[in-house]
Amino acid sequence: MNANAQLTQQQLQVASEIEIEMMQDLYTRMTNSCHKKCIPPKYHENDLTKGESVCIDRCVAKYFEIHDRVGKKLTALSTQQAQSQMAEAQAAATQS
């Protein structure tokens, strides 16, 4: 019983480390993408223009919206794949 509880705790720790690493990766990618899209490489001024600021706000919103939708589509696709694999396995079993 103790061994099981320790394993769960270790699992939790590894899972939370993975989550932190993925959040960092997400943040880095998001900042790189939105910087590329919204801020032209013209360095005459040192402040952001209003347009650039608004672009960045909308870019962040869209990025996370896309991130969420891709997650939902991926789970839908993987359940679809799992279901079709199970159907194939069942068909093979009934044939033999």
Binding site: V14, M22, D25, R29, S33, K37, I66, H67, V70, K73
Partner: protein, 78 residues
């Protein structure tokens, strides 16, 4: 065993971030609105499906390559 599952989860989430990034970079270039347009949604749907299909096909090719290598390694001593 469960740690292996978590490693698989890690690989999956890395791929997930990659898909979201690539599809965002390709599909979204208009920031007049805060919401996604229909074109952007369609592009996103296609992008995700194609990415996943290509990954599946690539991993199958990789698995075949590994099988061939394994068979070659087993045959050499004889």
């Amino acid at each position: 065993m469960e740690i292996d599952n978590l490693k698989g989860l890690r690989d999956f989430i890395i791929t997930y971030n990659q898909i979201a990034d690539e599809c965002f970079n390709y599909c979204v270039y208009n920031f007049n609105n805060r919401n996604l347009s229909n074109d952007e949604e369609l592009c996103l749907h296609n992008c995700t499906k194609r990415f996943v299909s290509s990954q599946t096909r690539l991993s199958r090719g990789f698995a075949d390559y590994q099988m061939n290598k394994l068979n070659q390694a087993n045959q050499v001593p004889k």
